[in-house]
Amino acid sequence: MRCSLVVNGTPVEYEVEPRELLAEILRDRTGLTGTKIACDTAQCGSCVVELNGRTVKSCQVLAVSATGSTIVTVEGVSPATAPLTDLQNALRDAHAVQCGFCTPGLVMNLRELTAQTPQPTADEVREALDGTFCRCTGYVAVVDAVAVPAGDLR
């Protein structure tokens, strides 16, 4: 069956089996391996991408069901040689990136959070992180990177 997508601004089209997952198409056909697959049950969040303006677990979407959609993956957040975004820089400076495996999903998750809530509180960041697991950092650095300290909220 046909799956037509716009991925990071580029139109692509593939012949897919109904059972193929959007995450698999992105990784195997488009070659954008930044999106990861890691948990079977759509809990870990390493597969998070933006689909039609909303973040989703791309391992939990059938590719054929996503046909006609616009996708942004982590590679599309800041194109190859462009500078990192403020969010990415903040995560790096706080050293919220250890093994790096959760990082793409985390970036996509928090990108949506900070777009909707530009100055999230620590609690808002923690709640948002329900969608993406990290086993290395304990989340402390992530919250440090993204949350606005209570006293600084404007």
Partner: protein, 811 residues
């Protein structure tokens, strides 16, 4: 020195991770790659009667369907290289006489659910998986045993012909006679039956292996998720595949977390190489989460009794532990050592205990093989000892902090032989605890407790003090411990004609930011910007020497090797520069990328010196035109980071709901190279440790099914579970390496189970509840409170009974 060592340098590795361009093993797909799917055993213990692969082999895209019998004469069993030292032990066999583990594919018997039985290779993963459905395996089920204690009991099902009574070893350390005497004479004796439950590390990245074979050269390449590529190369080539070592290259690209699990040999590693050669195509295998949870080594799993004896004034005089350790169905690469020495020798913790003894019955059972889990052995030891110390303090009516302080080894006794096999190197244990107590406002505890009471809340504070053996280790000593391998580390520095430096290390990063931290050592010594140092690692071709990353050894064993190499390079360059200046070597100083004389008359940039050596013009006598130094560092002994953690909790006495108010962690890892990296590792370690005490458990049913086999049933800490953390440090350099550095990567996973348990039990102390087993759930707390109010004080949940008896009463 540039002073960059010791600075909070932002890791350079982060950018590629943030962009999503960093490659992990599953991201690699060379042209022509085919996919391997492993059909796993559905029975925990069974004879394989027959395997019918004909239908599967005929399915679309299928290139091979292979059973254990097909390759029995081609692949040897995966070896185990850690024999519990100093005692009789029994292992399944290996053709070369060393301990064997399991075969890559089960041959006539399966011994755990999750053991690979059939290998299916097809053009795509879907085709391989579909074909696996068509394989028919006839099993004849055998009786199953899942608990270590049951496995060594008479009448238990026998797993291995070569292992009578399923007993791998009865390992001991310490002095049984003096300990038993001391316990018999003690004024107060405390005894606890504890379970340190099995847990699953669950790094985020599932394991993956990619095997390639080049028929033109006969050369194999394995890309795999490993924290020890050199070990895997040696073991796979020499002891599994039987191919020349020179023909195998092992590479770990980026590895997404490991925490111990990816340091082991697994069947897929051998199979992808074997099949790549047979099929003439690269063969790739990627695990699922469910696969990982069912077949990657699991951790902890001690069923143990701790007996502590002491005086009524609070002196600990004796400590004895008997444990049943569960190795699972096969000995993993270093499983037996994890279950014995790392736990047993660590039991005295920071205390000067005159008599101590530990025995571990190491047993095979029909569950997933055991391996290291972050803080392995030390965490299990600390849990037992720190719980016992708290129960002891309460029994004699003394403050738990004071009891600890009074028993701690004092700095003037260093180096301190703990009587169990470790010799502590340096440290002021009491100072760390006192610092933690200040952060915890220990003096205000009773007031806070009273305030909480008014709100219907039970407030509790728990302490866990630990000493963690790290920096594995002195090779000769490790051989005595039973390790079949070296545990040194190496570094190589090559200065390029441009002045750039290539540093090659033997460690493998699985998230520890090695590329940054080790660059700092070299840059600091050579007085050049850290950006000029490129770090190579995790590829046995470009980094030929190494022992891998585990046991918190990279910085404290690998780091000194880097330092030594940098010093030798610097010394050679100074010689060349001095000769060019026409001065003595003592007159040349190095700073800010420049060699100069004190009077300023001469100066030469580092890069100019580098190219001068390259050209070979006007070199002093005996100096060759190459700046290339390889060093090896075999530490004289282990090193011993330590610390004290304090946790404060509140419990709703009506519902059992638990809130962690604050977590204070004072640690000491000697001289730290990159405090930013280490601080963040400590935070991650603490949160990982909270998982075991609050929510994690690998549960099996009586048939050996893993009930917690995906993330729906295996909770792990989330951001909303993390309490406010306060980190602080003391610094006690180790004398065992020139950096003064101790291990740090896993140390903070050692105390959380004990600290949080102690806090919860402190909160419940008023009800006479003496112990609750892990994970300490809301319902366990509620039930214990309810039973206590009803007048029947705990025994609380499974595996947690505490009896504190006074020896006097017994007489």
């Amino acid at each position: 020195m540039t002073g960059v060592l010791g600075q909070r340098v932002t890791p350079r590795e982060s950018e590629a991770f943030l962009r999503g361009t960093a490659r992990f093993t599953a991201d690699l797909t060379p042209p022509g790659t085919v996919r391997l799917h492993l059909l796993l055993s559905e029975h925990a213990h069974a004879r394989i009667v027959s395997i019918d692969t004909a239908a599967a082999a005929a399915m679309p895209g299928v290139l091979a369907v292979v059973t254990g019998a097909d390759i029995a004469d081609k692949l040897m069993p995966l070896p185990c290289i850690w024999i519990p030292g100093g005692t009789e032990s029994h292992f399944p066999p290996h053709p070369y006489g060393l301990p064997g583990g399991g075969p890559a594919l089960a041959i006539d018997r399966v011994r755990f659910i999750g053991e690979p039985v059939v290998a299916v290779v097809a053009e795509t993963e879907r085709q391989a998986r579909d074909a696996a459905e068509a394989v028919v395996v006839h099993y004849e089920p055998l009786p199953v045993v899942t608990r270590a204690r049951d496995a060594v009991a008479p009448g238990a099902p026998q797993l291995h012909d070569a292992v009578p009574g399923n007993l791998n070893a009865h390992w001991t350390c310490g002095d049984a006679a003096s300990t038993d005497t001391a316990l018999a004479e003690a004024e107060v004796v405390v005894e606890l039956d504890l379970i340190n439950q099995r847990t699953i590390n669950n790094p985020l990245e599932p394991r993956a292996s990619l095997g390639e074979y080049d028929p033109a050269t006969g050369h194999y390449t394995l890309h795999t998720t490993t924290q020890g590529p050199h070990n895997h190369r040696f073991l796979l080539a020499a002891l599994v595949l039987g191919i020349p070592l020179a023909k195998l290259r092992v590479v770990a690209t980026n590895v997404g977390g490991s925490f111990g699990t990816k340091g082991y040999l697994y069947p897929d590693m051998a199979l992808v190489l074997f099949l790549a050669a047979r099929l003439g195509r690269p063969v790739k295998w990627v695990d699922s989460r469910n696969g990982l949870m069912r077949s990657t080594v699991q951790g902890r799993d001690h069923d143990y009794k701790i007996t502590l004896g002491g005086t009524r004034e609070g002196r600990i005089t004796a400590l004895r532990v008997t444990s049943y350790a569960n190795l699972g169905a096969y000995p993993s690469t270093i499983g037996p050592g994890v279950a014995t020495a790392l736990m047993g020798r660590s039991l005295t913790g920071p205390y000067a205990i005159p008599s101590a003894f530990c025995e571990v019955y190491v047993a095979f059972t029909n569950v997933v093989p055991l391996g290291a889990q972050r803080g392995s052995g030390r965490s299990e030891a600390t849990y037992a000892t720190e719980r016992a110390v708290d129960v002891f303090a309460r029994r004699i009516g003394l403050d738990p902090a004071q009891v600890r302080l009074a028993n701690m080894v004092t700095p003037d006794r260093m180096p301190y032989d703990n009587g169990m096999g470790w010799t502590y190197d340096s440290g002021d244990y009491a100072k760390a605890l006192q610092l933690a107590m200040r952060h915890a406002d220990y003096d205000g505890l009773e007031q806070r407790r009273a305030n909480a009471r008014e709100r219907g809340r039970l407030l509790g504070l728990g302490i866990a003090s630990y000493v963690a053996i790290c920096g594995v280790g002195p090779s000769t000593r490790m051989s005595q411990e039973g390790m079949l391998g070296g545990t040194w580390e190496s570094a190589n520095i090559r200065v390029q004609p441009s002045g750039e430096v290539i540093l090659t290390i033997g460690s493998a990063s699985t998230g520890q930011s090695h590329e940054t931290t080790f660059a700092q050592i070299a840059a600091d010594t050579l007085a050049i910007p850290v950006e000029l140092v490129t770090v190579l690692h995790s590829d046995t071709e470009s980094a030929p020497y190494g022992q891998g990353t585990y046991g918190s050894r990279s910085y404290s064993v690998g780091g000194p090797a880097v330092l030594q190499a940098a010093l030798e390079v610097r010394e050679k360059m100074v010689k060349v520069v001095a000769h060019a200046f026409g001065v003595g070597t003592d007159d040349v100083q190095v700073s800010d990328g420049t060699f100069s004389t004190a009077d300023g008359a001469h100066s030469m940039a580092f890069s100019d010196a580098a190219i001068a050596v390259w050209y070979g013009w006007n070199l002093p006598e005996g100096v060759t035109p190459a700046l290339d130094v390889t060093t090896m560092f075999d530490p004289p002994d282990f090193n011993y980071p330590f610390g004290s953690h304090i946790v404060e909790v509140e419990i709703d006495e009506h519902t059992g709901e638990l809130e962690l108010l604050r977590y204070i962690a004072v640690n000491d890892a000697g001289v730290i190279g990159n405090p930013l990296v280490v601080d963040r590792q400590v935070e991650g370690s603490i949160v990982h440790g909270l998982g075991q005490v609050l929510m994690e458990e690998a549960r099996f049913d009586a048939e050996g099914n893993l009930l917690t086999d995906d993330l729906r049933s295996y909770p792990m800490p989330r951001a909303t579970d993390v309490p406010p953390l306060v980190l602080d440090w003391t610094e006690s350099p180790t004398p065992h390496n020139a950096l003064g550095a101790k291990g740090a990567g896993e140390i903070a996973t050692v105390p959380p189970a004990a600290a949080v348990s102690n806090a919860i039990l402190d909160a419940l102390a008023g009800y006479g509840i003496e112990h609750l087993g892990m994970p300490v759930t809301q319902e366990k707390i509620w039930r214990a409170l309810r039973d206590a109010r009803a007048g029947s004080p705990a025994p609380a949940a499974v595996g947690a009974t505490a009896t504190a008896t006074s020896a006097e009463e017994e007489r």
